[in-house]
Amino acid sequence: MLTGLTIAEAAAGLRAKKFTAEELCLAHLNAIEALNPRLNAYLTVSHSQALDQAKAADAALARGDAGPLAGIPLAIKDLFCTQGIRTTAASKILGPFVPPYESTVTANLLRDGAVFLGKTNLDEFAMGSSNMTSAYGPVENPWKRRQNPDAVLVPGGSSGGSAAAVSAQLAMGGTGTDTGGSIRQPASFCGIVGMKPTYGRCSRWGVVAFASSLDHPGPFARTVQDTAILLRSMSGYDAKDSTSADVPVPDFAAACGRGVRGLRIGIPREYRVDGMPAEIERLWQQGIVWLKDAGAEIVDVSLPHTRYGLAAYYVIAPAEASSNLARYDGVRFGLRTNGDDLRDLYERTRADGFGTEVKRRILIGTYVLSAGYYDAYYLRAQKVRALILRDFTDAFQNVDALLTPTAPSAAFGIDEKTDDPVTMYLNDVFTVNGNLAGIPGISVPAGLDTDGLPLGLQVLGKPFDEETVFAVGAEIERAAGFTALPTLRAGATQ
């Protein structure tokens, strides 16, 4: 089946004229039509634009000037502005918004010939770890528990729609954004690969802002190599993002075959948390054995401030969000609810337009930035952030990469963990410090739990050394031999 190919296989097949980009696109659009009403992974399917892009890719392939992603069908998180295609951030407040411009990352993918199947669901403004805060309904994880196949599980979040789409073969790859774990955690929950590059590697221009110092665009795919292929296209210096890194973009895919012989892999002892299932601990130990067997040297390391990362994040991210989301005023774009005067218009628009989690975070952010509390909360959290970066910098004096679990659990039920916001926040305990420090990280599917649900391992690396992260990730992928497929996927009989 065309939908089951990897990006590398599809690119080769297109060039060998085994099938056309139009056929590849139609196979995916048909699969979306069949499964998306249930999964709710796509909020918008850009049917006609996708077919136009596929035909253009076929023409470029025939001419011999096709880009590296010519004809490759992708899912785009509905946080990336796409010119002429509605972009909602899964919020009511952006419900009517049609961007007159294209984000840099999606423009880079289009430049290389990619086909955009549509815009995928997410937690509202990327604030969540379950995709349940979307104003347009939750996403169903295509994976099912063996013992209880009727239970609806979450795909993780915030990039849950892209992760579910790639997992269910409704796209070959996709884009996500990762502010506290929003690419890596859903990749782990959906049994696919997700990569958060170094801060500054992918431009944030045209990506709806949540927390600007923590937001990282990045790719999803079903193999480490495919993820590397996508990242190369997405990356690059952009004058329109003042934090964009002016550094060369290497051939990340080439690094996937490097192996790990001679690499020093750190195992941070603080990444063991209370209540973590024993099978995640076992999988982590298995990962250590795999890397050791492949010639890596395993080193015990300490990141002493690990446990404070999440609390620092829940000061810094809401603070930045309260500032970034001030722009939704009902005047310039998006939803408007009329009021008695201008202030009343603002207050009613924002009350109607934002969901409960977004309101909570704006209020927390407003509070920690307000007079009298700034030093106690915001400044202190920024100092803890400095200590977390120092932990990593110290560890990387001695090791080339770190190996940890991606998330403290497998995918959970859609009705679990909803009563207390802090319980939901704990999903990001292993991923969030990578955002605070801005270092690259990947989640690779490494095994199944006893329910038959996928679990990921995370590799973290030095700033701008995504190549080592890909090399280690590819080694885990080879050793794990993960071939399990989700219950709900293109072409599977339900």
Binding site: D340, S370, R380, V384, R385, D420
Partner: protein
């Protein structure tokens, strides 16, 4: 530190989000839960540590201080809920 209803209303007012009395009570519980959990940051010794505002590992590049974009008001207004001519429109502000 525990938020009282008046403080929740003041924060909501600063954030320009209208809240009902029922919402104030629910938010008070949730915000206090989150702030209570954040208190753990007080366990960390941060003496002499400079605050870190961002995760940028590359030096920022400067550009010439020139206007390099703009001049398309209709494109900007295309998403406005209300507009007139080349302007956004809002309820009357000055009597």
């Amino acid at each position: 530190m525990s938020l009282d209803p008046a403080t929740v209303r003041r924060i909501a007012s600063l954030a320009r989000i209208r809240v009902t009395d029922d919402e104030v009570e629910v938010l008070r519980g949730e915000l206090n839960g989150i702030l209570g959990w954040i208190e753990q940051l007080n366990e960390v010794n941060v003496d002499g540590i400079a605050p870190l505002a961002g995760a940028t590992h590359a030096a920022a590049r400067l550009r010439d201080d020139v206007v390099n974009d703009g001049g398309y008001p209709q494109k900007i207004l295309s998403n406005a809920p209300d507009g007139t001519g080349e302007y956004f429109a809002v309820p009357k502000v000055v009597e």
